[in-house]
């Protein structure tokens, strides 16, 4: 058994529903949670649209997978980053995004919202720090 914990980053750059990338990424994140790695999600470019709250797909006959993002804290995802420039370019603010809570099962430490808006320099830093980056 390997005890090496790697930093996994899931990089999301596509809007939901128009293509399958957003959903596929989410599926891989949920499956990957079984491997006990240090997982973070990064949303840049059109990927920031994935976290927009209030999605209602009843009119287009597709599965609304956006509620699943709010459960990510239960899958050991402790950090979710959103690029500030990408939000601004789309006329969005953090108020437009879902809040995702995290509770540490061991320490019972609770974080109300692990969604963090970061600047481009921080995005660069976080990508450099990651051992593996999965692109969607």
């Amino acid at each position: 058994m390997s005890e090496v914990v790697k930093k996994f980053m899931y990089l999301n750059r596509k809007a939901p529903y128009g293509t399958i990338y957003a959903w596929e990424s989410l599926e891989v994140v949920l499956i990957g949670a079984a491997f006990d790695q240090e997982v973070s999600l990064m949303f840049v470019d059109d990927g920031v649209y994935q976290l927009v709250k209030g999605q209602d797909t009843t009119g287009i006959g597709m599965k609304n997978f956006s509620p699943t993002y709010r459960t990510l804290g239960d899958y050991e995802v402790k950090t979710i980053y959103v690029d500030a420039d990408s939000l601004a370019a789309r006329g969005l603010t953090q108020d437009d995004l879902v809040a995702i809570a995290y509770e540490d099962m061991d320490t019972e430490e609770e974080i109300e919202n692990i969604v963090e808006v970061v600047d481009a320099a921080r995005v660069t830093e976080l990508m450099d720090e990651a051992d593996v980056v999965f692109s969607f």
């Binding site: 596509k14 809007a15 939901p16 529903y17 128009g18 293509t19 470019d45 059109d46 649209y49 927009v52 709250k53 209030g54 999605q55 209602d56 797909t57 009843t58 009119g59 287009i60 597709m62 609304n64 956006s66 370019a89 789309r90 006329g91 969005l92 437009d96």
Partner: protein, 102 residues
């Protein structure tokens, strides 16, 4: 000959909308569908592109696609009209042909 143009990509990912607006003739109709609906929102870097387009063509957005993506009509750029699927059908019948910008 009047054309209904459809755009289904975001203006940030592709230049479909930009090309569509460039080549569409005055009086044509442009319907934003699927990921194309993001172009209809206020405050984005594509707003000026869309606003200049509104001076030349009629711009419509497909309501169910907008709602699916979490946005209400109060976030739309003024002058853009919302249609439902029946409205989409009406637009296709009112125009001589449909041209898709993929």
């Amino acid at each position: 000959m009047s054309i209904l143009h459809t755009v289904n990509k975001t203006p940030f990912e592709r230049n479909s909308l930009e090309s569509c607006l460039k080549y569409a003739s005055p009086g044509a109709a442009v319907l934003l569908i699927e990921d194309g609906v993001y172009a209809a929102l206020v405050g984005s870097s594509a707003e000026s592109l869309v606003k200049s387009g509104l001076g030349k063509v009629s711009v419509y957005v497909l309501g169910p696609d907008l709602k699916a993506r979490g946005f209400r009509e109060d976030r739309l750029i003024e002058g853009i009209q919302v249609v439902d699927y029946a409205g989409f059908v009406d637009l296709t019948t009112e125009h001589d042909k449909v041209q898709a910008w993929l």
